[in-house]
Subunit: 89 residues, 2 copies
DNA sequence: TACTATTGTCACATATATATTACTTTTATA
DNA sequence: TATAAAAGTAATATATATGTGACAATAGTA
């Protein structure tokens, strides 16, 4: 896992971070911990489909900040604890 | 401004939050405070266009978590400090 | 005032987040 | 084991985030 300060140094070297960085999340872990709700329940709470929630948990989507804020609220946590950046590969 | 706990109570009442909630941010304020860089400079650092950064600061876009994480890193802060939810209207 | 940098904005094109429907695979539980 | 619930996934459609190019409006500065 790359620290934010480390990622910041990357672009100081001139890299275009948007393409070099990959977003990870622990939504599934926290969903199970927090009340053990299902993907479908969480999805319904925030107003997206179960399939969308599935893809977000599988880290195949780059969700919008709106959806992320709603997930964080539903799981009683913060975005900073749910999503972070890693190096590509 | 609506507290996260308050927003959470909304969906406990059965609301579909995705359509009822609106995302606000203070990117422009923090960009000026943090080294007084321009929209164009910030955009280049994270690899989006100046126009995209302009629309994000004007709160006309619902940016992806990836872009938000990069903005937070570039501005030496966290997503939780840059983005929050408010009631529609 | 004049000149320049910065910001705002528009029209159009493209990529992708999300929805919908349906099906298979896995997990839990009787 | 058998059955159902949950999760994974695929195809297709739609909405929208983002890119590109251009130009107007604003702010800063000589």
């Amino acid at each position: 896992m790359v620290e934010i300060t480390e990622v910041f140094k990357m672009h100081e070297r001139g890299a275009f971070l948007l393409k070099d960085v990959q977003v990870k999340n622990c939504v599934k872990l926290i969903r199970i911990e927090q009340g053990n709700m299902t993907q479908g329940e969480l999805a319904k709470m925030i107003g997206v489909t179960r399939q969308t929630m599935n893809l977000i948990e599988a880290q195949k989507y780059n969700p919008t900040i709106k959806v992320c804020l709603l997930i964080a609220a539903a799981l009683h946590t913060s975005i900073d604890k749910l999503f972070w950046m890693e190096d590509e590969e």
